[in-house]
Amino acid sequence: MISTGIGIGKIRPTKAIWFAGIVLMLFVVLAPIFVMVKYSISDRLSVVTGGLPIPLWPYHPTMEQFQGLAAMDSFIMSAFASMKVALLSAVISLVMGTPAAYALVRYRFPGMMILATLLISVRLFPDIVSVVPIVETFIKLRLVNTLLGVAMAHALLSMPYVIFIAMGVFETIPRDLDEQAQILGASKWYSFTRIMLPVALPGLAAAAIYVFLLSWDEFILAYFLLAFGNVSTLPVLLQKILSWTPQHNLLAAISVMLSVPVIVFTFMVQKYMQTGATAGAVK
Protein backbone atom coordinates (compact mmCIF):
# COMPACT_ATOMS: atom_id res chain seq x y z
CA MET A 1 0.00 0.00 0.00
CA ILE A 2 2.48 2.61 1.17
CA SER A 3 5.08 3.46 -1.40
CA THR A 4 8.14 4.98 0.14
CA GLY A 5 9.38 6.40 -3.12
CA ILE A 6 12.87 5.06 -2.64
CA GLY A 7 13.94 3.10 -5.64
CA ILE A 8 17.17 2.34 -7.36
CA GLY A 9 18.15 5.28 -9.54
CA LYS A 10 15.74 7.62 -7.81
CA ILE A 11 17.08 10.36 -5.59
CA ARG A 12 14.89 11.46 -2.75
CA PRO A 13 14.18 15.21 -2.89
CA THR A 14 15.13 15.70 0.78
CA LYS A 15 18.51 14.15 0.08
CA ALA A 16 19.06 16.47 -2.89
CA ILE A 17 18.17 19.51 -0.78
CA TRP A 18 20.51 18.28 1.95
CA PHE A 19 23.34 17.82 -0.53
CA ALA A 20 22.78 21.27 -2.03
CA GLY A 21 22.79 22.72 1.49
CA ILE A 22 26.12 21.07 2.34
CA VAL A 23 27.67 22.30 -0.91
CA LEU A 24 26.40 25.85 -0.38
CA MET A 25 27.56 25.93 3.23
CA LEU A 26 31.01 24.63 2.39
CA PHE A 27 31.30 27.14 -0.44
CA VAL A 28 30.42 30.07 1.82
CA VAL A 29 32.74 28.82 4.57
CA LEU A 30 35.68 28.17 2.28
CA ALA A 31 35.37 31.12 -0.14
CA PRO A 32 36.94 33.80 2.11
CA ILE A 33 39.73 31.41 3.10
CA PHE A 34 40.39 30.55 -0.53
CA VAL A 35 40.45 34.24 -1.44
CA MET A 36 42.94 34.90 1.34
CA VAL A 37 45.34 32.20 0.10
CA LYS A 38 44.81 33.23 -3.51
CA TYR A 39 45.62 36.89 -2.90
CA SER A 40 48.65 36.04 -0.81
CA ILE A 41 50.28 34.23 -3.76
CA SER A 42 49.05 36.69 -6.39
CA ASP A 43 51.43 38.60 -8.56
CA ARG A 44 50.88 42.31 -9.08
CA LEU A 45 49.05 41.93 -12.38
CA SER A 46 46.45 39.60 -10.84
CA VAL A 47 45.59 42.21 -8.21
CA VAL A 48 45.83 45.48 -10.12
CA THR A 49 44.10 44.36 -13.30
CA GLY A 50 43.32 47.73 -14.81
CA GLY A 51 39.62 47.13 -15.38
CA LEU A 52 39.74 43.44 -16.22
CA PRO A 53 37.96 41.04 -13.85
CA ILE A 54 40.17 39.73 -11.08
CA PRO A 55 41.24 36.18 -11.98
CA LEU A 56 40.04 33.34 -9.77
CA TRP A 57 43.58 31.98 -9.76
CA PRO A 58 46.63 34.25 -10.12
CA TYR A 59 48.22 34.44 -13.57
CA HIS A 60 51.65 33.80 -12.12
CA PRO A 61 51.50 32.39 -8.57
CA THR A 62 54.40 33.77 -6.59
CA MET A 63 55.79 33.70 -3.06
CA GLU A 64 57.23 37.20 -3.37
CA GLN A 65 54.84 38.64 -0.78
CA PHE A 66 56.10 36.21 1.84
CA GLN A 67 59.72 36.89 0.87
CA GLY A 68 58.91 40.57 1.20
CA LEU A 69 57.47 39.98 4.69
CA ALA A 70 60.69 38.28 5.81
CA ALA A 71 62.53 41.51 5.02
CA MET A 72 59.86 43.85 6.37
CA ASP A 73 60.93 45.29 9.70
CA SER A 74 57.47 46.32 10.88
CA PHE A 75 56.15 42.81 10.22
CA ILE A 76 59.00 41.06 12.05
CA MET A 77 58.70 43.42 15.01
CA SER A 78 54.92 43.03 15.19
CA ALA A 79 55.16 39.25 14.94
CA PHE A 80 57.58 39.17 17.86
CA ALA A 81 55.44 41.65 19.78
CA SER A 82 52.36 39.48 19.20
CA MET A 83 54.23 36.41 20.38
CA LYS A 84 55.54 38.17 23.49
CA VAL A 85 52.11 39.52 24.40
CA ALA A 86 50.45 36.15 23.84
CA LEU A 87 53.05 34.27 25.89
CA LEU A 88 52.99 36.82 28.69
CA SER A 89 49.20 36.90 28.90
CA ALA A 90 49.08 33.09 28.84
CA VAL A 91 51.60 32.97 31.69
CA ILE A 92 49.72 35.56 33.77
CA SER A 93 46.35 33.91 33.30
CA LEU A 94 47.67 30.37 33.87
CA VAL A 95 49.70 31.24 36.97
CA MET A 96 46.68 32.91 38.59
CA GLY A 97 43.88 30.90 36.99
CA THR A 98 45.07 27.34 37.54
CA PRO A 99 45.35 27.51 41.36
CA ALA A 100 42.02 29.33 41.46
CA ALA A 101 40.38 26.57 39.44
CA TYR A 102 41.86 23.96 41.78
CA ALA A 103 40.48 25.82 44.80
CA LEU A 104 37.06 26.16 43.18
CA VAL A 105 36.91 22.43 42.48
CA ARG A 106 38.37 21.05 45.71
CA TYR A 107 37.14 23.44 48.39
CA ARG A 108 33.48 23.61 49.20
CA PHE A 109 33.18 27.00 50.79
CA PRO A 110 29.81 28.75 51.16
CA GLY A 111 29.19 30.83 48.05
CA MET A 112 31.89 28.99 46.10
CA MET A 113 29.64 28.11 43.17
CA ILE A 114 28.38 31.69 42.90
CA LEU A 115 31.97 32.89 42.92
CA ALA A 116 32.93 30.40 40.21
CA THR A 117 30.01 31.48 38.04
CA LEU A 118 30.88 35.14 38.57
CA LEU A 119 34.54 34.66 37.73
CA ILE A 120 33.72 32.77 34.53
CA SER A 121 30.98 35.15 33.43
CA VAL A 122 33.41 38.08 33.52
CA ARG A 123 33.96 36.83 29.98
CA LEU A 124 30.53 38.11 28.97
CA PHE A 125 31.35 41.66 29.95
CA PRO A 126 31.57 43.59 26.68
CA ASP A 127 35.18 44.38 25.82
CA ILE A 128 34.25 47.52 23.90
CA VAL A 129 32.66 48.94 27.08
CA SER A 130 35.73 48.17 29.18
CA VAL A 131 38.30 49.42 26.73
CA VAL A 132 38.10 53.19 27.39
CA PRO A 133 38.26 52.81 31.20
CA ILE A 134 41.21 50.42 30.84
CA VAL A 135 43.11 52.81 28.57
CA GLU A 136 42.38 55.77 30.86
CA THR A 137 43.64 53.78 33.86
CA PHE A 138 46.68 52.47 32.01
CA ILE A 139 47.62 56.01 30.93
CA LYS A 140 48.06 56.86 34.62
CA LEU A 141 50.02 53.64 35.26
CA ARG A 142 52.19 54.28 32.18
CA LEU A 143 51.11 50.98 30.67
CA VAL A 144 49.80 52.43 27.39
CA ASN A 145 51.98 51.61 24.36
CA THR A 146 53.71 48.85 26.29
CA LEU A 147 53.44 45.16 25.60
CA LEU A 148 52.99 44.45 29.32
CA GLY A 149 49.85 46.60 29.31
CA VAL A 150 48.35 44.69 26.40
CA ALA A 151 49.28 41.37 28.02
CA MET A 152 47.61 42.40 31.29
CA ALA A 153 44.46 43.41 29.43
CA HIS A 154 44.47 40.14 27.50
CA ALA A 155 44.95 38.20 30.73
CA LEU A 156 41.69 39.75 31.90
CA LEU A 157 39.96 38.17 28.89
CA SER A 158 41.69 34.82 29.09
CA MET A 159 41.62 34.12 32.82
CA PRO A 160 37.93 33.11 32.83
CA TYR A 161 38.72 30.57 30.10
CA VAL A 162 41.69 29.20 32.03
CA ILE A 163 39.56 28.86 35.16
CA PHE A 164 36.77 27.19 33.21
CA ILE A 165 38.99 24.70 31.33
CA ALA A 166 41.18 23.95 34.36
CA MET A 167 38.10 23.34 36.54
CA GLY A 168 36.99 20.76 34.01
CA VAL A 169 40.43 19.14 34.09
CA PHE A 170 40.66 19.02 37.90
CA GLU A 171 37.16 17.59 38.16
CA THR A 172 38.30 14.53 36.19
CA ILE A 173 41.14 13.83 38.64
CA PRO A 174 39.93 11.65 41.53
CA ARG A 175 39.90 13.35 44.91
CA ASP A 176 41.68 10.33 46.45
CA LEU A 177 44.88 11.25 44.68
CA ASP A 178 45.63 14.42 46.63
CA GLU A 179 44.02 13.10 49.82
CA GLN A 180 46.35 10.11 49.83
CA ALA A 181 49.35 12.32 49.20
CA GLN A 182 48.36 14.43 52.19
CA ILE A 183 47.85 11.35 54.39
CA LEU A 184 51.39 10.34 53.47
CA GLY A 185 52.56 13.67 54.80
CA ALA A 186 52.71 15.90 51.74
CA SER A 187 51.77 19.52 52.35
CA LYS A 188 48.84 20.97 50.46
CA TRP A 189 51.17 23.07 48.35
CA TYR A 190 53.39 20.06 47.60
CA SER A 191 50.49 17.83 46.62
CA PHE A 192 49.09 20.58 44.37
CA THR A 193 52.35 21.42 42.57
CA ARG A 194 53.97 17.99 42.46
CA ILE A 195 50.99 15.69 42.05
CA MET A 196 47.96 17.53 40.72
CA LEU A 197 49.70 19.80 38.22
CA PRO A 198 51.64 17.03 36.42
CA VAL A 199 48.48 14.94 36.13
CA ALA A 200 46.52 17.94 34.83
CA LEU A 201 49.24 18.99 32.41
CA PRO A 202 47.69 17.84 29.09
CA GLY A 203 44.44 19.65 29.80
CA LEU A 204 46.27 22.72 31.01
CA ALA A 205 48.36 22.68 27.82
CA ALA A 206 45.12 22.92 25.85
CA ALA A 207 44.09 25.88 28.00
CA ALA A 208 47.48 27.49 27.39
CA ILE A 209 47.18 27.08 23.63
CA TYR A 210 43.65 28.40 23.73
CA VAL A 211 44.51 31.58 25.61
CA PHE A 212 47.67 32.05 23.54
CA LEU A 213 45.47 32.14 20.44
CA LEU A 214 42.94 34.38 22.15
CA SER A 215 45.64 36.99 22.67
CA TRP A 216 47.32 36.32 19.31
CA ASP A 217 44.28 37.43 17.31
CA GLU A 218 42.75 39.90 19.77
CA PHE A 219 42.24 43.28 18.14
CA ILE A 220 40.12 45.70 20.18
CA LEU A 221 42.20 46.06 23.35
CA ALA A 222 45.49 45.93 21.46
CA TYR A 223 44.27 48.59 19.05
CA PHE A 224 43.16 50.99 21.78
CA LEU A 225 46.27 50.42 23.89
CA LEU A 226 48.77 50.68 21.02
CA ALA A 227 46.94 53.13 18.76
CA PHE A 228 49.51 55.92 18.66
CA GLY A 229 52.72 54.20 19.66
CA ASN A 230 55.38 52.63 17.51
CA VAL A 231 54.84 49.07 18.75
CA SER A 232 51.96 47.07 17.35
CA THR A 233 50.79 43.48 17.40
CA LEU A 234 50.01 41.71 14.12
CA PRO A 235 46.25 42.46 14.11
CA VAL A 236 47.00 46.14 14.79
CA LEU A 237 49.64 46.15 12.05
CA LEU A 238 47.08 44.73 9.63
CA GLN A 239 44.67 47.53 10.44
CA LYS A 240 47.41 50.13 10.12
CA ILE A 241 48.45 48.83 6.70
CA LEU A 242 44.80 48.77 5.63
CA SER A 243 44.43 52.44 6.51
CA TRP A 244 47.74 53.46 4.87
CA THR A 245 47.91 51.50 1.62
CA PRO A 246 45.29 48.85 1.07
CA GLN A 247 47.63 46.65 -0.96
CA HIS A 248 45.54 43.52 -1.26
CA ASN A 249 48.22 40.88 -1.72
CA LEU A 250 50.34 42.22 1.14
CA LEU A 251 47.29 42.28 3.43
CA ALA A 252 46.47 38.70 2.42
CA ALA A 253 50.03 37.50 3.05
CA ILE A 254 50.04 38.95 6.58
CA SER A 255 46.56 37.47 7.11
CA VAL A 256 47.88 34.04 6.19
CA MET A 257 50.79 34.40 8.62
CA LEU A 258 48.34 35.47 11.32
CA SER A 259 45.84 32.67 10.63
CA VAL A 260 48.09 29.64 10.12
CA PRO A 261 49.05 29.18 13.79
CA VAL A 262 45.42 29.64 14.80
CA ILE A 263 44.18 27.05 12.29
CA VAL A 264 46.83 24.50 13.28
CA PHE A 265 46.31 24.85 17.02
CA THR A 266 42.52 25.15 16.86
CA PHE A 267 42.32 21.65 15.48
CA MET A 268 44.63 20.46 18.23
CA VAL A 269 42.39 21.80 20.98
CA GLN A 270 39.11 21.30 19.14
CA LYS A 271 37.88 18.79 21.70
CA TYR A 272 38.19 21.25 24.54
CA MET A 273 36.66 24.05 22.53
CA GLN A 274 33.66 21.91 21.74
CA THR A 275 32.87 21.36 25.40
CA GLY A 276 33.60 25.03 26.03
CA ALA A 277 31.21 26.12 23.32
CA THR A 278 28.37 23.98 24.62
CA ALA A 279 28.86 25.32 28.11
CA GLY A 280 28.81 28.85 26.76
CA ALA A 281 32.41 29.61 27.64
CA VAL A 282 33.75 30.16 24.15
CA LYS A 283 32.73 33.56 22.94
Binding site: I22, P32, L56, Y107, P110, F192, W216, K283
Partner: protein, 311 residues
Amino acid sequence: MTSYSSNLPAVKNKGIMVAIRRNIFGIIILAPAALYLAGFLLIILFKVVQLALTLTGPQGDLFPTAHHFVRLSKNPEFQGAFLRTVWFTLIGTPLELIIGMAAAFLVVGEFKGRGVIRSLMILPLAIPSIVTAIMLYIIFDFPGGHVNDLLMGRHAFFPFQVISHPLDWRGSGFFSLMVAMFGKVWRDMPISMLIILAGLQAIGKDQYEAAKTLGANAFQTFFRITLPLLTPAMATVLVLRSIEVWKEFIFPFILAGSYPLLATLIDQAYHEWRNPNEACAIAFILLVLIIMSTVLIFHVLKWLRRRLVRV
Protein backbone atom coordinates in the same frame (compact mmCIF):
# COMPACT_ATOMS: atom_id res chain seq x y z
CA MET B 1 20.22 31.34 79.77
CA THR B 2 21.63 34.83 79.46
CA SER B 3 25.16 33.53 79.21
CA TYR B 4 24.10 31.20 76.42
CA SER B 5 22.53 33.92 74.29
CA SER B 6 25.46 36.28 74.78
CA ASN B 7 27.81 33.50 73.76
CA LEU B 8 26.02 32.87 70.46
CA PRO B 9 27.79 35.44 68.26
CA ALA B 10 31.13 34.26 69.59
CA VAL B 11 30.28 30.65 68.70
CA LYS B 12 29.22 31.76 65.23
CA ASN B 13 32.41 33.75 64.79
CA LYS B 14 34.41 30.76 65.95
CA GLY B 15 32.63 28.65 63.33
CA ILE B 16 33.60 31.06 60.59
CA MET B 17 37.16 31.18 61.88
CA VAL B 18 37.32 27.39 61.82
CA ALA B 19 35.91 27.31 58.30
CA ILE B 20 38.46 29.89 57.17
CA ARG B 21 41.31 28.04 58.85
CA ARG B 22 40.28 24.74 57.33
CA ASN B 23 40.06 26.31 53.86
CA ILE B 24 42.94 28.74 54.22
CA PHE B 25 44.96 27.09 51.45
CA GLY B 26 42.05 27.25 49.05
CA ILE B 27 41.39 30.90 49.86
CA ILE B 28 45.03 31.84 49.37
CA ILE B 29 45.36 30.20 45.97
CA LEU B 30 41.99 31.52 44.83
CA ALA B 31 42.71 35.09 45.85
CA PRO B 32 45.05 36.28 43.05
CA ALA B 33 42.69 35.41 40.20
CA ALA B 34 39.59 36.59 42.05
CA LEU B 35 41.24 39.88 42.99
CA TYR B 36 42.61 40.39 39.46
CA LEU B 37 39.22 39.88 37.82
CA ALA B 38 37.16 41.65 40.46
CA GLY B 39 39.65 44.52 40.65
CA PHE B 40 39.60 45.12 36.92
CA LEU B 41 35.83 44.85 36.81
CA LEU B 42 35.34 47.31 39.66
CA ILE B 43 37.79 49.79 38.13
CA ILE B 44 36.07 49.48 34.76
CA LEU B 45 32.56 49.97 36.15
CA PHE B 46 33.68 52.81 38.40
CA LYS B 47 35.52 54.56 35.56
CA VAL B 48 32.66 54.18 33.07
CA VAL B 49 30.17 55.73 35.48
CA GLN B 50 32.59 58.37 36.75
CA LEU B 51 33.72 59.55 33.29
CA ALA B 52 30.20 59.43 31.84
CA LEU B 53 28.87 61.67 34.63
CA THR B 54 31.76 64.13 34.86
CA LEU B 55 32.00 67.41 32.98
CA THR B 56 35.48 68.88 32.94
CA GLY B 57 35.25 72.64 32.59
CA PRO B 58 37.55 75.60 33.17
CA GLN B 59 36.30 75.87 36.77
CA GLY B 60 37.09 72.26 37.53
CA ASP B 61 35.08 69.07 37.40
CA LEU B 62 31.33 68.95 37.69
CA PHE B 63 29.95 65.69 39.06
CA PRO B 64 27.39 64.23 38.71
CA THR B 65 25.91 65.69 35.55
CA ALA B 66 23.85 64.29 32.69
CA HIS B 67 25.50 66.78 30.34
CA HIS B 68 27.07 64.14 28.06
CA PHE B 69 23.87 62.13 27.78
CA VAL B 70 21.86 65.24 26.90
CA ARG B 71 24.43 66.33 24.34
CA LEU B 72 24.60 62.85 22.81
CA SER B 73 20.83 62.58 22.53
CA LYS B 74 20.86 65.74 20.37
CA ASN B 75 23.82 64.54 18.28
CA PRO B 76 22.61 63.21 14.90
CA GLU B 77 25.66 60.92 14.68
CA PHE B 78 24.67 59.26 17.94
CA GLN B 79 21.03 58.99 16.87
CA GLY B 80 22.10 57.36 13.61
CA ALA B 81 24.43 54.95 15.37
CA PHE B 82 21.73 54.06 17.88
CA LEU B 83 19.17 53.24 15.19
CA ARG B 84 21.71 51.27 13.14
CA THR B 85 22.76 49.27 16.20
CA VAL B 86 19.15 48.40 16.98
CA TRP B 87 18.36 47.09 13.53
CA PHE B 88 21.78 45.46 13.21
CA THR B 89 21.00 43.48 16.37
CA LEU B 90 17.37 42.80 15.51
CA ILE B 91 18.41 41.20 12.21
CA GLY B 92 21.78 39.83 13.26
CA THR B 93 20.78 37.84 16.34
CA PRO B 94 18.02 35.72 14.75
CA LEU B 95 20.24 35.29 11.69
CA GLU B 96 23.02 33.85 13.85
CA LEU B 97 20.55 31.35 15.30
CA ILE B 98 19.03 30.39 11.95
CA ILE B 99 22.38 29.89 10.22
CA GLY B 100 23.72 27.93 13.20
CA MET B 101 20.63 25.71 13.22
CA ALA B 102 20.81 25.17 9.46
CA ALA B 103 24.44 24.12 9.76
CA ALA B 104 23.71 21.84 12.70
CA PHE B 105 20.79 20.13 10.91
CA LEU B 106 22.99 19.61 7.85
CA VAL B 107 25.72 17.75 9.70
CA VAL B 108 23.75 16.00 12.46
CA GLY B 109 22.97 12.83 10.51
CA GLU B 110 25.22 9.93 9.67
CA PHE B 111 26.93 10.24 6.31
CA LYS B 112 30.23 9.48 4.66
CA GLY B 113 32.91 12.03 5.43
CA ARG B 114 31.02 13.62 8.29
CA GLY B 115 34.16 14.18 10.34
CA VAL B 116 35.90 16.04 7.52
CA ILE B 117 32.86 18.18 6.78
CA ARG B 118 32.37 19.06 10.44
CA SER B 119 36.02 20.04 10.72
CA LEU B 120 35.71 22.24 7.64
CA MET B 121 32.59 23.87 9.10
CA ILE B 122 34.55 24.79 12.23
CA LEU B 123 37.23 26.58 10.17
CA PRO B 124 35.72 30.10 10.53
CA LEU B 125 36.42 29.86 14.25
CA ALA B 126 40.10 29.48 13.44
CA ILE B 127 40.29 32.60 11.28
CA PRO B 128 40.92 35.76 13.32
CA SER B 129 38.03 38.23 13.04
CA ILE B 130 40.32 40.96 11.78
CA VAL B 131 41.48 38.67 8.95
CA THR B 132 37.90 37.81 8.00
CA ALA B 133 37.00 41.48 8.01
CA ILE B 134 39.94 42.31 5.73
CA MET B 135 39.08 39.44 3.38
CA LEU B 136 35.53 40.76 3.09
CA TYR B 137 36.99 44.21 2.50
CA ILE B 138 38.91 42.76 -0.45
CA ILE B 139 36.08 40.56 -1.77
CA PHE B 140 33.53 43.41 -1.62
CA ASP B 141 35.97 45.95 -2.99
CA PHE B 142 34.89 48.78 -5.28
CA PRO B 143 35.01 48.99 -8.23
CA GLY B 144 36.91 45.79 -8.93
CA GLY B 145 36.15 43.19 -6.25
CA HIS B 146 35.16 39.58 -6.69
CA VAL B 147 31.51 40.15 -5.80
CA ASN B 148 31.17 43.08 -8.20
CA ASP B 149 32.85 41.05 -10.96
CA LEU B 150 30.51 38.17 -10.32
CA LEU B 151 27.30 40.22 -10.16
CA MET B 152 28.24 42.06 -13.35
CA GLY B 153 28.58 38.75 -15.14
CA ARG B 154 32.22 39.20 -16.03
CA HIS B 155 33.14 35.57 -15.48
CA ALA B 156 32.59 32.91 -18.15
CA PHE B 157 30.98 30.48 -15.69
CA PHE B 158 28.33 32.98 -14.56
CA PRO B 159 27.49 35.17 -17.55
CA PHE B 160 24.41 36.80 -16.01
CA GLN B 161 24.48 40.53 -15.51
CA VAL B 162 22.70 41.17 -12.23
CA ILE B 163 23.94 44.75 -11.90
CA SER B 164 25.15 47.03 -14.69
CA HIS B 165 27.50 49.18 -12.60
CA PRO B 166 29.81 48.09 -9.81
CA LEU B 167 28.26 48.63 -6.38
CA ASP B 168 30.13 50.70 -3.83
CA TRP B 169 29.51 48.38 -0.88
CA ARG B 170 31.22 50.63 1.65
CA GLY B 171 29.43 53.73 0.35
CA SER B 172 25.99 52.82 1.64
CA GLY B 173 24.94 52.30 5.22
CA PHE B 174 22.71 49.37 4.37
CA PHE B 175 25.18 47.47 2.20
CA SER B 176 28.23 48.08 4.38
CA LEU B 177 26.44 46.90 7.52
CA MET B 178 25.05 43.91 5.65
CA VAL B 179 28.59 42.93 4.65
CA ALA B 180 29.67 43.44 8.28
CA MET B 181 26.77 41.27 9.44
CA PHE B 182 27.73 38.60 6.92
CA GLY B 183 31.24 38.58 8.41
CA LYS B 184 29.93 38.36 11.96
CA VAL B 185 27.54 35.52 11.16
CA TRP B 186 30.21 33.72 9.10
CA ARG B 187 32.71 33.91 11.93
CA ASP B 188 30.22 32.85 14.66
CA MET B 189 28.45 30.08 12.73
CA PRO B 190 30.61 27.24 14.18
CA ILE B 191 29.85 28.21 17.79
CA SER B 192 26.10 28.36 17.24
CA MET B 193 26.34 25.13 15.24
CA LEU B 194 28.22 23.30 18.02
CA ILE B 195 25.73 24.40 20.69
CA ILE B 196 22.71 23.37 18.58
CA LEU B 197 24.46 20.12 17.62
CA ALA B 198 24.99 19.25 21.28
CA GLY B 199 21.32 20.03 21.91
CA LEU B 200 20.22 17.82 19.02
CA GLN B 201 22.38 14.93 20.14
CA ALA B 202 20.97 15.17 23.65
CA ILE B 203 17.49 14.32 22.36
CA GLY B 204 16.99 10.59 22.91
CA LYS B 205 16.41 8.30 19.95
CA ASP B 206 13.51 6.66 21.80
CA GLN B 207 11.54 9.92 21.61
CA TYR B 208 11.68 9.82 17.82
CA GLU B 209 10.88 6.12 17.77
CA ALA B 210 7.87 6.67 20.01
CA ALA B 211 6.64 9.43 17.72
CA LYS B 212 7.11 7.20 14.69
CA THR B 213 5.20 4.37 16.33
CA LEU B 214 2.35 6.75 17.11
CA GLY B 215 2.25 7.71 13.45
CA ALA B 216 3.68 11.22 13.54
CA ASN B 217 4.89 12.64 10.25
CA ALA B 218 8.13 14.56 9.78
CA PHE B 219 6.55 17.97 10.43
CA GLN B 220 4.85 16.85 13.62
CA THR B 221 8.06 15.24 14.83
CA PHE B 222 9.97 18.43 14.16
CA PHE B 223 7.50 20.85 15.73
CA ARG B 224 6.40 18.67 18.63
CA ILE B 225 9.68 16.99 19.59
CA THR B 226 12.81 18.47 18.06
CA LEU B 227 11.95 22.15 18.43
CA PRO B 228 10.60 22.10 22.00
CA LEU B 229 13.48 19.93 23.23
CA LEU B 230 15.94 22.17 21.43
CA THR B 231 14.74 25.37 23.12
CA PRO B 232 17.43 25.32 25.86
CA ALA B 233 20.20 25.16 23.24
CA MET B 234 18.46 27.81 21.16
CA ALA B 235 18.13 30.01 24.22
CA THR B 236 21.86 29.70 24.91
CA VAL B 237 22.65 30.70 21.33
CA LEU B 238 20.23 33.64 21.37
CA VAL B 239 21.41 35.08 24.68
CA LEU B 240 25.13 34.72 23.94
CA ARG B 241 24.83 35.88 20.34
CA SER B 242 22.67 38.90 21.15
CA ILE B 243 25.36 40.15 23.55
CA GLU B 244 27.98 39.55 20.87
CA VAL B 245 26.01 41.34 18.14
CA TRP B 246 25.20 44.37 20.32
CA LYS B 247 28.87 44.96 21.04
CA GLU B 248 30.26 43.95 17.64
CA PHE B 249 33.24 46.12 16.81
CA ILE B 250 35.76 44.66 14.36
CA PHE B 251 33.50 44.01 11.35
CA PRO B 252 31.70 47.37 11.32
CA PHE B 253 35.01 49.09 12.15
CA ILE B 254 36.78 47.69 9.09
CA LEU B 255 33.82 47.36 6.71
CA ALA B 256 31.44 50.19 7.64
CA GLY B 257 33.71 52.96 8.87
CA SER B 258 31.42 55.74 7.69
CA TYR B 259 28.31 54.22 9.26
CA PRO B 260 29.22 53.67 12.91
CA LEU B 261 27.32 51.44 15.30
CA LEU B 262 27.40 52.32 19.00
CA ALA B 263 30.52 50.18 19.48
CA THR B 264 32.42 51.89 16.66
CA LEU B 265 31.08 55.27 17.79
CA ILE B 266 32.94 54.70 21.08
CA ASP B 267 36.16 54.53 19.06
CA GLN B 268 35.17 57.65 17.13
CA ALA B 269 34.32 59.57 20.29
CA TYR B 270 37.58 58.55 21.93
CA HIS B 271 40.00 58.93 19.02
CA GLU B 272 38.41 61.53 16.75
CA TRP B 273 36.35 63.73 19.06
CA ARG B 274 39.02 63.31 21.79
CA ASN B 275 36.23 63.01 24.32
CA PRO B 276 36.69 60.10 26.76
CA ASN B 277 33.64 61.27 28.73
CA GLU B 278 31.29 60.95 25.80
CA ALA B 279 32.95 57.66 24.84
CA CYS B 280 32.14 56.36 28.32
CA ALA B 281 28.60 57.72 28.13
CA ILE B 282 28.07 55.75 24.89
CA ALA B 283 29.67 52.68 26.51
CA PHE B 284 27.30 53.06 29.45
CA ILE B 285 24.26 53.28 27.16
CA LEU B 286 25.48 50.20 25.26
CA LEU B 287 25.93 48.30 28.53
CA VAL B 288 22.40 49.20 29.68
CA LEU B 289 21.00 48.14 26.29
CA ILE B 290 22.80 44.79 26.49
CA ILE B 291 21.55 44.11 30.02
CA MET B 292 17.97 45.10 29.12
CA SER B 293 17.92 42.97 25.99
CA THR B 294 19.39 39.96 27.82
CA VAL B 295 16.73 40.18 30.51
CA LEU B 296 14.02 40.61 27.87
CA ILE B 297 15.21 37.62 25.82
CA PHE B 298 15.33 35.54 28.98
CA HIS B 299 11.72 36.29 29.85
CA VAL B 300 10.42 35.86 26.31
CA LEU B 301 12.17 32.50 26.03
CA LYS B 302 10.77 31.35 29.37
CA TRP B 303 7.27 32.29 28.21
CA LEU B 304 7.82 30.63 24.84
CA ARG B 305 9.11 27.45 26.41
CA ARG B 306 6.02 27.20 28.60
CA ARG B 307 3.85 27.57 25.49
CA LEU B 308 5.83 25.06 23.43
CA VAL B 309 6.32 22.27 25.93
CA ARG B 310 2.90 20.91 26.73
CA VAL B 311 3.15 17.94 29.00
